[in-house]
């Protein structure tokens, strides 16, 4: 009897070793840089994305083009934004990142800097013409490489309560000066009501506003990064909002809280600087005010100008860990340029496509249900999208964004100097780059 026991034990030991060996073998596969990347024959790819309804869109591929090319894509649903970046980087460390990933534009330099994204210029370079130049440039990082295919964009717009603007006798601001006047006029007429709020938890919104003002936060000079978060353009934006918060013309509480939802729903806040995806948010945040909102272009810094920033938007990238980069790139290009795919993305996932011809396609003929009172919603949106100012992201956007949360959170709370908070953000970003060893030009 003891013999069997012992042999069972050694069997367990043996299988443990086998598992361990298997793991190393897998790891070895993952980091294998051999010529298997262009392997032919049936290929199956994994795709990490947070877009809702993506599995339906991918089904179209698997049943159509993908079947022909013998490329099957499997969707693995993920949490959005920064969490996914961390997850991709961790998986990449183990050499096990999926073949395809969804990434926000501002995360691309971080991913590329970690060598997680492959250059797919030769496979998707032809798609360039389908996108606005400013959008495409975000996926090249100003190099000859192409690290992702643009999927959706978030051109910024101004949303307001049409009925309440009329009630308080306000006109839709076309410049930021008018915006400030509107905020003050509203405070005079109804002290308990705010035009909007400055949210210190939405770094993307602030980045978009700075982008509209002409800021270029990260640029390269030779082999050095130049960080200009506290440049004149951004300072102008920070001082503008800091002034409004200080004089109490706008609220200083964060967005996306139960209190904020209620303020929008009950008319305590009557406008929102947001992006093209706002109808979706308003539908859940302010369901009772459906049909009472309208959209207008973002106020301008100089009258007569037409510029906007972006808040949100993402792309599809192929990882360096993928053993089938060519096939993956083929899918990424199909997903974001093929008419059927884009229609499905609009219908099943509710995204606003980066591909310019899709913005005026049949899927966007009708206004979103929440904005049924504004029939030309998407015609206007497509026009505004064309005026998006170029953006410039760097390899540590995440550091700048957390610095924004803390510094502007404190400044908004204390109603203190926003320009000082901006300097803190700049200093934290530069210090982090230097600490990591990046070349930084002062």
């Amino acid at each position: 009897m003891p013999i069997t026991k012992r042999s069972r034990l050694s069997r367990v030991a043996a299988s443990t070793v086998a598992v361990a060996l298997g793991a190393t073998a897998l790891a070895a596969c993952g980091s294998d840089d051999g010529d298997s990347k262009t392997a032919s024959g049936p290929v199956s790819l994994t795709y990490w994305t947070w877009t809702p309804g993506m599995d339906k869109v991918v089904d179209l591929w698997n049943k159509g083009q993908g079947k022909k090319d013998q490329i099957t894509v499997t969707v693995k649903k993920q949490a959005s934004g920064d969490t996914l970046v961390t997850k991709i980087l961790t998986a990449h460390k183990a050499g096990k990142a999926p073949d395809l990933v969804q990434a926000e534009y501002q995360a691309l330099p971080t991913l590329v800097s970690n060598d997680a994204l492959a250059d797919i210029a030769k496979d998707v370079g032809d798609a360039k013409d389908k996108f606005a130049e400013g959008v495409w440039q975000q996926t090249t990082l100003g190099t000859d490489a192409v690290y992702a295919v643009p999927q959706d964009i978030g051109p910024m717009m101004f949303y307001y309560r049409q009925d309440l603007f009329k009630k308080y006798g306000l006109t839709v601001p076309t410049t930021w000066d008018e915006f400030a006047e509107t905020a003050r006029a509203l405070k005079k007429k109804s002290p308990g009501t705010d035009l909007t709020t400055f949210s210190a938890s939405d770094s993307g919104l602030f980045a978009g506003l700075a982008q509209q003002a002409g800021a270029q936060w990260w640029t390269t000079e030779g082999d050095k990064w130049k960080v200009a978060i506290n440049d004149a353009a951004t300072k102008k934006v920070a001082d503008f909002w800091g002034g409004l918060v200080k004089e109490g013309a706008v609220d200083n509480q964060p967005m996306y809280t139960p209190a904020w939802n209620k303020a929008l729903n009950t008319g305590k806040q009557i406008a929102w600087v947001s992006a093209v995806w706002a109808p979706g948010t308003l539908t859940t945040a302010a369901p009772d005010t459906k049909g009472k909102w309208a959209m207008a272009p973002l106020p301008q810094w100089t009258a007569g100008e037409h510029r906007t920033g972006s808040w949100g938007g993402s792309s599809t990238g192929v990882t360096t860990d993928s053993k089938h980069q060519e096939a993956a790139a083929k899918f990424a290009a199909w997903l974001n340029t093929d008419d059927a795919a884009l229609t499905a993305l609009a219908k099943d996932s509710g995204i606003y496509p980066a591909a310019t011809n899709a913005q005026t396609s049949g899927a966007f003929a009708q206004a979103p249900e929440y904005f049924s009172n504004q029939a030309d919603f998407y015609t206007k949106a497509a026009e505004i999208a064309k005026t998006t100012a170029p953006s410039a992201w760097g390899p540590n956007v995440n550091v700048a964004y957390t610095a924004f949360n803390d510094a502007f959170g404190a400044a908004a709370k204390n109603k203190s100097d926003f320009a000082a908070a901006l300097d803190t953000m700049q200093a934290a970003t530069v210090a982090d780059l230097k600490k990591q060893g990046f070349g930084v030009s002062e």
Partner: protein
């Protein structure tokens, strides 16, 4: 018969064989991750130039630089001070209430003991994040029923989500959630006190109050020490409550508590090396504080026993 047969198969080896599962589990799930974290804390990333493309980023030896940076980091220090202030409210209030409730439940005059015990214990069964969200909603003036009532009564409406009241608001969540657990620990110890001790006290003419102060509390001192010990650790590791309240207010920064800073550095700014060093420092501080307290408590008990 069996003993005669077993001998040849090495009784000496048997204990080690029995130890293997525990040892393996300990090594794989405890020693290895901790060892890896310590290893990471001595490393850092070095990027050259623009840091784009292959081979631009490598992991290098950092020596103690992550540790010196963490110890000189004012954010980490401020986080520790905030947590200290928070702990000064949570621990006394929570343990005081737990003791009070336990004593009350243990007295003969209370009716519906099982129900009351369950009612006080129930918040502990609610996950910390859910509890924090629940209270967060109650703290937000625009959606809170409390503020509605205060408003109707024309009473002042304090801003609970900033400044000093924020500490009270955060402590309240911890006290609400933790009192029940500590009460049960103390209450169980009270139940274990033999009845003859009470009888003797009664015969000596002790009032219920004297019984509580002079008999019950000293006799449950070991449980009080234990609950205190747990509470210190829980306080040093506070993370759920401030993280959940963070989106609701500008007053909670991403580095409000030391653990939040570890999380931010590891997952917000992708610097796992600095995060590892801070985690090691926090672990050491927790060990020092909690075991320091245990030793002090033990010494006292021994002294008292010797007296």
């Amino acid at each position: 018969m069996t003993s005669a047969r077993r001998k040849p198969y090495g009784v000496k080896g048997a204990p080690y064989a029995f130890l293997i599962p525990a040892t393996v589990l300990f090594l794989v799930f405890f020693a290895l991750p901790i060892g890896y974290a310590i290893w990471l804390s001595f490393r850092k990333v070095h990027v050259s130039g623009l840091g784009l493309g292959k081979g631009a980023r490598e992991e290098v030896w950092a020596g103690l630089s992550n540790y010196t940076a963490a110890l000189h980091d004012s954010e980490l220090l401020h986080g520790a001070l905030r947590v200290l202030g928070y702990g000064c409210i949570v621990v006394p209030v929570m343990l005081g209430l737990a003791l009070l409730f336990a004593l009350m439940l243990d007295s003969d005059k209370v009716r519906f003991t099982p129900f009351t015990r369950l009612a006080i214990f129930l918040p502990y069964a609610i996950p910390g994040v859910v509890a924090a969200m629940l209270w967060g909603f109650l703290y937000l003036p625009d959606v809170s029923p409390f503020y509605y009532v205060l408003d109707k009564l024309g009473l002042p409406q304090p801003d609970l989500l900033s400044g000093g009241p924020l500490y009270a608001a955060l402590s309240n969540i911890a006290v609400w959630g933790g009192t029940g657990f500590n009460m049960i620990v103390i209450y169980t110890a009270l139940q274990a006190i033999p009845a003859e001790v009470y009888e003797a006290a009664k015969l000596d003419g002790a009032t219920p109050r004297q019984v509580a102060l002079k008999i019950k509390i000293p006799m449950v001192a070991p449980s009080l020490v234990l609950t205190f010990f747990f509470s210190i650790i829980a306080t040093l590791q506070v993370y759920n409550e401030p993280t959940t309240l963070k989106p609701l207010t500008n007053s909670v920064s991403t580095t409000w508590s030391p653990l939040m800073k570890v999380y931010r550095d590891a997952f917000g700014t992708n610097d796992i090396y600095a995060a590892a060093a801070q985690a090691v420092i926090i672990a050491l501080a927790t060990l020092l504080l909690s075991f320091g307290f245990l030793r002090a408590a033990n010494r006292r008990q021994k002294q008292e026993a010797a007296r």
